[in-house]
Symmetry: C2
Subunit: 468 residues, 2 copies
């Protein structure tokens, strides 16, 4: 780290924007619970007095994005004005703690939901800034870090009963041998992906079959489809997809939390004949013990349990691992508190020998997670066995350095940073609620209404109300 520069440089400002895309018009991303997602993000830029910027975001599905934007504003004072030396490197765990444990703000979390999504966007922007400062893609910044330095970016609070800092250092040291070879392998071969883009719940059976064929011809061998709304429909869709995929290809199913525990077990027994590789989010993302029971019941059928895209923090992941409640770990790059917290989850998964198969798609998730997974391969686990990264290429055109897929593999980025910088014209067009793309939608008079005209009556001064 160029220490002198880090002392002279400070964050002089932060901007956050509410960016939304009208994806629900085409039912892209639709599932049993989120039937009309408008893929969105709270988009954060950190500005330094040296001219460098850091870009970070967190993903949402539309309404509610305004709350994450507001939470970023409530947290901004904790980073703005600070020097980089107090934010990056060995200070990262400290700044992370100050964001997640601010003595008043933590009450509306702690470490979960709106406030934690906001932390993710800010922390991701800090990591992006750091990687740009070092002129490395994020994965390479991580890979090149000494184990002793890397663990200083992680807050081990509440997880020391399963993983201490000392253990984590040893774990990383044990994997030093062969790092160069693994890096070279990644750079030439990339990391295997699976596609979800063929199987949204809002798509017709014909569309799903056509898309499966299309992705097969692009080299994909692993496919995920959405289930959980109606058992008979699910059987039909599974049968149709299997008829296209044949016996060799992998089929994953995703219920997006639609079932209770017993219901999940019974429903999946009905779908077992289609040989699903895993069932994702069978029930509430908060139900560790429920997932453990489902995993135990489905294991004899050869069906794994996957969850994580809505898993709120490392404390929950710790328990999912302790309780043998997940067979595959679907971390999300922006649901937990950004890169720093994600690293701790990868390390715990290594300890429990559970493969990480990150959640992606959405806005910017594909761009981020491949960095993490490439680091996992080179520095943590040394294997891609049982591991896949999700891919759903809906909004790639808005990113300056979108995910690069070659023969169904994510190719590691070589551009410095964390790859979430969006085009200025996209940010301008899709800023909600009055970017030009949104104004155009209101004018068209379809499902989207100008929020100003659709406001519900709020009486701001109830004490002046005389009807009582």
């Amino acid at each position: 780290m160029t220490q002198r520069l880090y002392e002279a440089t400070r964050i002089r400002g932060l901007s956050v924007r509410d960016i939304r895309f009208p994806t629900s018009l085409r039912l892209d991303g639709s599932d049993a619970i989120h039937h009309d997602p408008d893929y969105s993000c709270a988009y954060v830029v950190l500005f330094t007095n040296a001219g460098l910027k850091g870009h970070g975001l967190t993903f949402t599905v539309g309404r509610g994005n305004e709350l994450v934007v507001a939470a970023v504003k409530s947290l901004a004072h904790l980073v703005v004005g600070k020097e980089l030396k107090d934010l990056l490197g060995h200070s990262m765990a400290t700044i992370w703690r100050s964001l997640t444990s601010e003595s008043q703000l933590r009450w509306v979390g702690p470490e979960k939901g709106v406030i934690h999504l906001a932390v993710a966007a800010i922390i991701n922007a800090l990591w992006d800034l750091w990687a740009r400062q070092e002129q490395k893609p994020l994965w390479k910044l991580l890979v090149d870090m000494e184990p002793e330095d890397l663990v200083e970016t992680i807050d081990f609070r509440y997880i020391t009963d399963v993983l201490t800092k000392v253990e984590a250092v040893q774990m990383l040291k044990d994997m030093r041998k062969g790092k160069e070879e693994r890096e070279a392998f990644m750079l030439s071969n990339g990391y295997p992906a699976y596609t979800t883009a063929a199987g949204w719940l809002g798509y017709s059976e014909e569309k799903v079959k056509t898309l499966c064929q299309q992705y097969m011809s692009q080299g994909y061998r692993h496919f995920k489809i959405k289930v959980g709304h109606n058992l008979e429909d699910d059987k039909k869709r599974c049968a149709a997809v299997r008829s296209v995929l044949g016996d060799e290809m992998t089929l994953m199913l995703d219920a997006n939390q639609n079932w209770d525990v017993d219901e999940a077990i019974e429903w999946m027994k009905e779908l077992a004949c289609y040989r699903p590789h895993w069932i994702e989010e069978p029930t509430s993302p908060d139900d560790v013990l429920g997932h453990a029971r489902i995993a135990k019941e489905l294991s004899p059928l050869g069906i794994g349990v996957a969850t994580g895209e809505m898993c709120q923090n490392r404390v929950m992941f710790k328990q999912f691992l302790q309780a043998k409640a997940l067979t595959y770990c679907n971390i999300d790059a922006a649901r937990v508190g950004g890169v720093s917290e994600v690293l701790s989850i990868y390390l715990m998964c290594k300890k429990f020998n559970v493969p990480v198969c990150p959640h992606a798609g959405g806005v910017g998730l594909c761009e981020m997670v491949h960095h993490l997974q490439v680091w996992d391969y080179i520095s943590v686990t040394g294997t891609t066995e049982g591991r896949l990264v999700e891919f759903a290429n809906i909004l790639a055109e808005h990113f300056k350095t979108p995910a690069i897929i070659r023969n169904s593999h994510y190719m590691p980025h070589r551009t410095p940073g964390y790859s979430v910088e969006m085009h200025d014209k996209s940010l301008q067009a899709y800023e909600f609620p009055y970017g030009p793309a949104w104004k155009e939608l209101y004018k068209q008079g379809g499902k989207y209404k100008d929020p100003a005209t659709a406001k519900c009556p709020l009486l701001e001064r109830p004490n002046q109300d005389t009807t009582r």
Copy 2:
């Protein structure tokens, strides 16, 4: 229920206000994690076209309250305009589900943190409205409801593996015998309380001792003090308090999440000689399995484990119960999704034979929880054995019908509603950031600054920034 009236009446508006009290000036409410709480609430009023109002709130500790207020606004369209028949009675579980599972908003929860606190305020206002409409205090509304009607106010999603609607009905039917006697007993004797008001962490040892004596003279026999910041200080405070309390009185300790799992066990072994009745919030509120281990280790020392004020929802409580991770359940009236969800937690606690000892204090919590606990005694468990309601009387003067304490017992309210209506002059004075009380504080020039002058630089249009 007066069905005809419910059809004619609808919610014509909702107001929500950011109400904050500068309690941190006196260190009231300070603990190992929240060292400077400014007790606050998001205050919701529902207005009907018939002139009736419903008041509801959720409690926070200052910064972050603005996010809950914003979330209430994001949810308001789901209740405003609806008729009471589609909100109350058998519709309550449905409207609860529509608030907690709104297809886009749920992504920034689900059922946790900011968005769930906002649901709590709205749902509590609906229950208040219902109780006023029926001209009953909330506890009496609950007590008089037929079991089949009461369960229709609860969403059983994600808890059917431990409690079904049918079981819940039977549970309530089994307790019908003796209800009248128990109601009469409550009305004349009230529900036993313990006090936390003597033991905030910011108070000096002398102040704590004096307050203990004062509360003992008021009839209290159960005291809670804050620990977890420094072991030697804790020993001194425990010894000092025990010297005042003697051997007969009950001492509870509260660490407010300050420890990791192993640390909690070791620390509490050091404090066991002061015979604490329970240790509250020893570690992360999300760590079911961690609490289970702590409970197991401390059980031979006669120390129970209590948690719940930050427990996000019924799914987490379900697991705390399944894992034998809590000896006492500290439900909060506004952390989980309001009355409807709290009821399901009481019923699960009954099934697992775990006493509910509600979290109170804060803003309006004492006013709310006694309704729930009185219902528990009359309709659910029929006992006060091992059960106490917290009491910390900091802001009672702002409520129209503050909690009534007689000889250290909560006396059941007889006024219709859920008892959280605040005085208009309090709402006006303490509205944040520009109520007169706040303006006065800015003028005094102490720790509170006018937010407009303290704003951190946010660059709203980063694309027009030219420094790159």
